[in-house]
């Protein structure tokens, strides 16, 4: 009987996917708020976007909404690509001006 209950809990359902997403989101946010290097902050943002994508696809599948959620996840991936390109251009400019990319030392917009 107990074995059966445990098996029921281990059987993968919507909550398992959402749990992975929660953990990934928290890790990404942790990276964003604690790391000094701007490129590391970007990596945290990518983790957050990935966790949102897992949610989109999981709800689209388990909620029986057809394929729309997957399409939105596709849009998120496209936006993430655009965001990474622009953000790295900005990071390169910050490096040119301050000679480092530590977000805690960058405190003025122009000299």
């Amino acid at each position: 009987m107990q074995e059966e209950i445990r098996n029921k809990k281990l059987e993968v359902g919507l909550n398992h996917f959402l749990t992975v997403s929660v953990v990934l989101f928290s890790l990404g946010l942790y990276g964003v708020v604690t790391r000094k290097n701007a490129v590391m902050v970007l990596m945290g943002v990518e983790l957050i976007l990935n966790s949102a994508n897992i949610n989109f696809v999981a709800f689209s599948r388990f909620g029986n909404f057809g394929i729309n959620g997957e399409l939105y996840a596709l849009f998120v991936i496209i936006l993430a690509a655009a965001e990474a390109a622009i953000a790295l251009a900005i990071v390169l400019n910050i490096y040119k001006r301050f000679a480092n990319v530590n977000v805690d030392e960058i405190n003025n917009l122009k000299e």
């Binding site: 281990l10 059987e11 993968v12 919507l14 909550n15 996917f17 749990t19 992975v20 929660v22 953990v23 990934l24 989101f25 928290s26 890790l27 990404g28 946010l29 942790y30 990276g31 708020v33 604690t34 790391r35 000094k36 290097n37 490129v39 590391m40 970007l42 990596m43 945290g44 990518e46 983790l47 990935n50 994508n53 897992i54 696809v57 599948r61 388990f62 909620g63 029986n64 394929i67 729309n68 997957e70 399409l71 996840a73 596709l74 849009f75 496209i78 993430a80 690509a81 655009a82 990474a84 390109a85 622009i86 790295l88 251009a89 990071v91 390169l92 480092n100 990319v101 530590n102 805690d104």
Partner: protein
């Protein structure tokens, strides 16, 4: 435990463990490489959810594009003379406490909500349906995203170019 469940736990473990390494590694290059594993894990989860096209796009765009961009960012913003590319963390303990509380709240909401789930059949392929939706229902979004990518391309090139001396 069926095979499906075992594979899910495998991919979830890969995703989460490499995610922890990403945010904790001292060396940024190590972080970038474990981000690669995280992306692979997430794409495996997509496959388990029946999103085959999305899994391929995840590998091609994230691993082939964004990760390379991030590595370029790491290489271009650190002096070559620095043998070890290190980056510190700050406010670690407040962040851990706050985010543990945040994750606990999210988890509590998730488990206490009675999600209405329906069993599903994993379709053989989703590419056809995705393509048809892109040119019918979501045609405007598709065009706007095309324009956005063009704007981002031009913008990134013009921000990152060298000023004329």
């Amino acid at each position: 435990m069926e095979l499906y469940d075992i594979i899910f736990y495998l991919f979830a473990a890969i995703t989460i463990v490499s995610g922890i390494v990403v945010v904790n590694a001292k060396n940024i290059v190590h972080s970038a490489f474990s981000l690669l594993l995280t992306f692979f894990g997430v794409s495996g989860i997509y496959v388990l959810l029946g999103a085959d096209f999305l899994a391929i796009v995840q590998i091609m765009v994230y691993v082939g594009g964004i990760l390379i961009l991030l590595l370029f960012g790491v290489m271009l913003t650190n002096k070559i003379t620095d043998v070890e590319i290190r980056s510190g963390s700050f406010q670690v303990f407040p962040a851990i406490i706050g985010l543990a509380a945040f994750a606990a709240i999210l988890f509590g909401v998730m488990t206490s909500t009675n999600w209405k789930t329906e069993s599903f059949e994993i379709p053989a392929t989703t590419t056809f349906q995705l393509g048809r939706l892109l040119i019918s229902e979501y045609a405007l979004v598709f065009e706007l995203l095309g324009i956005l990518l063009l704007v981002a391309l031009i913008g990134a090139a013009s921000i990152a170019r060298r000023d004329k001396e």
